[in-house]
Symmetry: C2
Subunit: 425 residues, 2 copies
């Protein structure tokens, strides 16, 4: 017997759910366009190697990969940046820089034993390619912040936690981490918030080779959220000073855009992906109860890695799922109220042709119009008008036709007026 259930981890979007999806996508689009970004898209299936090259073989365990009928090893796209790099690889040399592109792809991950977790989501991807200045980093974060503000979220609802891989590297040196322990230190810091204190300390001693005093210094460092304090404390070190400059410029720009309150230095933000090279950030709900809403940063070597022009790049991905949870929690999901501008109540089949003429004219003017598709009682037709969320019902009967008018009933107020059909708009 055939199985006609939806696959686990996938969503249907009946109209009431699609309306929320469209609400979010429309906000994302409006904001990206306000910042001068252009929309693009790529295929939802790509050669598997595109992801392996960027993220290593271990990514394959999380992918929706398969062999197609032509023997190609392919995968549903788990993220968009490799496709962006591939598309730009063919064409970026001829393009004016910086390139500001955005897209809203559906992405897919197949992880086993993910009871109840989704295997797909939509992700707003916004990237600036070809500009290495901190102003590009700030611009991208501003887009992410405005994307959430456009949906009604404010400074009480979410925060951007910002760090910089170069700065963290310099600071780790300052507190005594040896160069060859840096990867281990990054790995511990990336997970440190989800680790019990004694486990964190154990790993700092064992894997990062710190002594107790060094581990204390590192823990204290990770709690520092002030660039000024970092400069005061470590500013005598060239590496730290050099690494602070872009973050200071970044903070100044976001302040000038009135977004300073959203942004918080947080050196614990590492981001798992190995390809980030500079400023990185994540957006979280202000209560810190949900997973990250958005993550991004600078990835200056990726385009070259997949065979394109060596171009600096910065961008983010914002998913629709955690964001949807936050919007629901903050009561920011708009009520689903489908409607049509007009519903035509047709009394007697001999009025049908007249009704179709009126509907055609109103639709040509851009109005939405519905009417019964069979002969029905006036009561049933009014019921249907309600179901369709009609704002105005037009009653067309033989008496009205004889007078050359229709009765227009405003469904919110109950008010009726008699009007020549040509005067409707």
């Amino acid at each position: 017997m055939a199985d006609f259930k939806r696959l686990p981890g996938f969503r249907d979007f009946p109209p009431e759910d699609l309306a929320l999806r469209a609400h979010v996508f429309d906000a994302w689009r409006r904001v990206a366009i306000r910042y001068g970004f252009r929309e693009y898209d790529g295929p939802p299936v790509e050669p598997l190697d595109l992801y392996v090259e960027k993220s290593g073989e271990e990514i394959v365990g999380q992918l929706y990969n398969f062999e197609d009928k032509g023997g190609r090893t392919v995968s549903l796209r788990p993220e968009m940046t490799p496709s962006l790099a591939r598309i730009l690889g063919d064409r970026s040399r001829g393009m004016a820089k910086p390139i500001r592109w955005f897209t809203i792809p559906q992405l897919f991950r197949y992880e086993r034993q993910q009871r109840g977790r989704l295997r797909e989501h939509y992700q707003w991807n916004v990237d600036i390619v070809g500009e290495e200045s901190a102003a590009a980093d700030a611009e991208v974060l501003a887009v992410a912040i405005d994307g959430l503000r456009e949906l009604g979220l404010g400074v009480d609802d979410f925060r951007a936690r910002v760090s910089d891989r170069r700065l963290l590297t310099a600071l780790l040196g300052a507190v005594g981490v040896q160069d060859d322990r840096l990867p281990a230190a990054f790995a511990v810091i990336d997970k440190i918030e989800r680790m019990p204190e004694d486990k964190a300390r154990g790993r700092l001693l064992d894997e990062v080779d710190l002594d107790d005093a060094g581990a204390d210094r590192l823990r204290a460092l990770l709690e520092c959220s002030s660039l000024t304090e970092l400069r005061n404390q470590f500013g005598e070190r060239d590496a730290v000073r050099d690494a602070l400059a872009p973050l200071e410029e970044y903070a100044a720009i976001l302040d000038a855009m009135g977004m300073g309150d959203f942004v918080k230095l947080d050196l614990k933000i590492v981001r798992g992906l190995a390809y980030y090279t500079g400023i990185v950030f994540e957006l979280f709900d202000a209560q810190g109860e949900l997973r990250a809403i958005c993550g991004g940063g600078r990835y200056d070597r990726l385009l070259e890695l997949v065979g394109g022009e060596p171009l600096p790049a910065v961008g983010f991905g914002m998913g629709d799922v955690v964001l949807g949870e936050l919007l629901a929690e903050r009561d920011l999901v708009p009520p689903y109220r489908p409607h049509v501008d007009y519903f035509l109540v047709v009394i007697g089949q001999e009025q049908r042709s007249h009704a179709l003429g009126i509907a055609t004219r109103l639709r040509a003017q851009g109005r939405s119009v519905a009417y019964p598709l069979r002969d029905q009682s006036v009561r049933k037709q009014f019921k249907a008008a309600e179901n369709e969320g009609a704002r105005t019902v037009l009653v067309l009967g033989p008496d009205e036709a004889a007078e050359g008018i229709v009765v227009a009933r405003d469904m919110a107020t109950g008010q009726e007026r008699r009007i020549a059909p040509d005067a409707l708009e």
Copy 2:
């Protein structure tokens, strides 16, 4: 070495191509909404059986099917109607009828040896579920016709060729086809336009069991494009008369909507899919040079077949590829002219914070704004403004700042005016 080429048969959508796609999708959406339809969507991956149940095992050869990591046999969706039936199967009983739903999914077919042919396309799907009257069939065709008119195509550009499976069955009986030869007759008629005359005649004699006179009568019948003539010629037969009635009502409705000129009876339109039960139609370019732009019809038994409520249904699918060819041929592809409302030319880094404040205010008002992300010469900044398609360039320098104004240059006319930044909108 990794292969970073796009998969054969898939398209990238850089901004200039995405703009055309969005132009088409927006037109489709506007029209569907004008007719009171609600948008929905489903997953791009479904259980393979969903398609096998509807179309038979032979469909599998054309699908992007694979086994997922959980051992499920799945497929990228090759069409949307089975997903619609599945989604409604869970929920239609509680819904007011008729249900008017539309969607614009990306669909996938993997056919081998399809040199140069696409393996994906987007398809506008529009369906009315729960209404068996011919008025629902007419409504759906009207949506398809208006979808093309919204893109600038008119009666010189395309035609709807309409038939009815019930009518053709009755007429085939009238010209002497035996009941057990009906499937063979449908199969021959479906292909008859692409067959040499003698081959067609051979198959009518061999497979449909007609004699020469019967084959002549059938050929003559297939050329008839007038309902009146069919009624005159075959109206004494109850089966023909009964089958003519809905088509006559259908034609009258489309006439009343001013669409009669687009619609042509054509008994050669069979549509391959086995599940159609009534009126069927295809839209073609008026010159008949391209493949069908759109196909649809009534499928009253499908929902029950996939385990849902037994509901009559009628709908169509309109693809983006042939339509794109027709739009290009008719010069109806809008030129790609990306733009921003404002580009800010910033003279001196000390003006940057001032510029960011102006940009933030303009964006909050919904304007699109770009500016250089690094210190650049005025000449380079004006060049960038051109690249961004800026409608107005705002020049912000120390002199202007001292006066409390900006210089606003209209890039189309070259006209400049001096204006207080707060007065910009």
